[in-house]
Subunit: 212 residues, 2 copies
């Protein structure tokens, strides 16, 4: 796609996603899923801030809101970056390889951009993981009419992190620098430590507060 | 929000989501997450159809594509419907209740729209669940360069179904018709039977094919 992703309409984005061109693809979707989670967190903060009955939680809600908005801005930028890096990658694969020198510089270009194509989704996973600690306090003390929205945010984080990491893994498979591959894989694994438990804990809180 | 959701830019939608107005909220996000999953499935079908090496799978890929596109159209319409029903619900709560007759008709209006507000996300969950059987054959036999995109689709379905059902559950809590509540809850529970296993199976296939 040529138009910046964020300036496309929702319908246009979904149509471009469904089209036979490889961008936007799963990497951008992972970033946007996490951005939607951040947006929901901010919404619930806004439905909490300034209301008498949640006054004791107001300062914390303001802080949570600020962190969610910073992460949303980062994730939106990463969604765009994912599309761009992927387009660079497609361009690198199309470089000429008729002479040996051409083939060598094509190969170097592919390696360089593929490396970036692991760094962008890894950063998406990091930002998505950082959203999770914002959810539990909001479920406990935020606007009770919006508890299910925090639950949706948690479920989206649970989707976005492994989605981004699938994109990391796919691109690592094409890299020659095995030290970088091992380091990146270790960082990916570190990101998911404790994630399932944290998600399960937050979802249990959500279900409990909806039932009350 | 007043502008139709699908005609908003992606940035505008995320900003509206993050705003202190309750629409769009988690219900629309659940529908859009599943619509993104459908879009990714169609993309991978399109990256498979017409290619020599996947010729044996072509007829099936065309069928999967058709089903994914029908579900995407339904999910996009449901995203919009979720916003509208929720706006109707907010309007119903604002109806006058100064006289006894007013209060009675306000209460009836709230009950009627709340019922719709359970039906829309239940239909979102149904459509999202219907996407899952399209994924495994695509992972097995579709374009191998796009396996991670099918993985992202599976992860989004895993997020969209319980997200939609959280919205069902939240609205059921406000309903008086206990027969409808029990029936709807039973339908919700039926939808999730076997879901975790089907998701886990599809994700294992994805990881296996990426590693190969």
């Amino acid at each position: 796609m040529s138009e910046p992703l964020l300036d496309t309409t929702v319908r246009g984005f979904l149509d471009a996603l469904a089209s036979g061109t490889p961008t936007p693809g799963g990497g951008a979707v992972a970033a946007l899923s996490a951005a939607m989670a951040a947006g929901l967190i901010t919404m619930v903060c806004d439905l909490t801030i300034g209301r008498q009955q949640y006054a004791a939680f107001e300062a914390e809600a303001r802080e949570l809101r600020e962190r969610a908005e910073a992460l949303r801005a980062e994730l939106q930028a990463l969604a765009q970056e994912d599309v761009e890096v992927f387009n660079h990658l497609l361009a690198a694969y199309k470089l000429p390889r008729t002479t040996e020198a051409d083939a060598a510089s094509r190969r170097a270009a592919i390696q360089k951009v593929t490396r970036q194509a692991t760094e962008v989704p890894l950063q998406v996973a990091r930002a998505a993981v950082a959203l999770l600690p914002l959810c539990a306090p909001l479920v406990r003390s935020g606007n009770r009419n919006a508890v299910s929205d925090v639950g949706v945010a948690v479920l989206l984080v649970r989707a976005a992190v492994p989605s981004a990491l699938l994109n990391v893994e796919t691109n690592l498979a094409a890299l020659e620098d095995q030290l970088f591959v091992r380091q990146t894989r270790a960082q990916s694994e570190d990101l998911t430590i404790g994630l399932d438990d944290e998600v399960a804990g937050a979802l249990a809180l959500v279900r409990e507060r909806i039932a009350r």
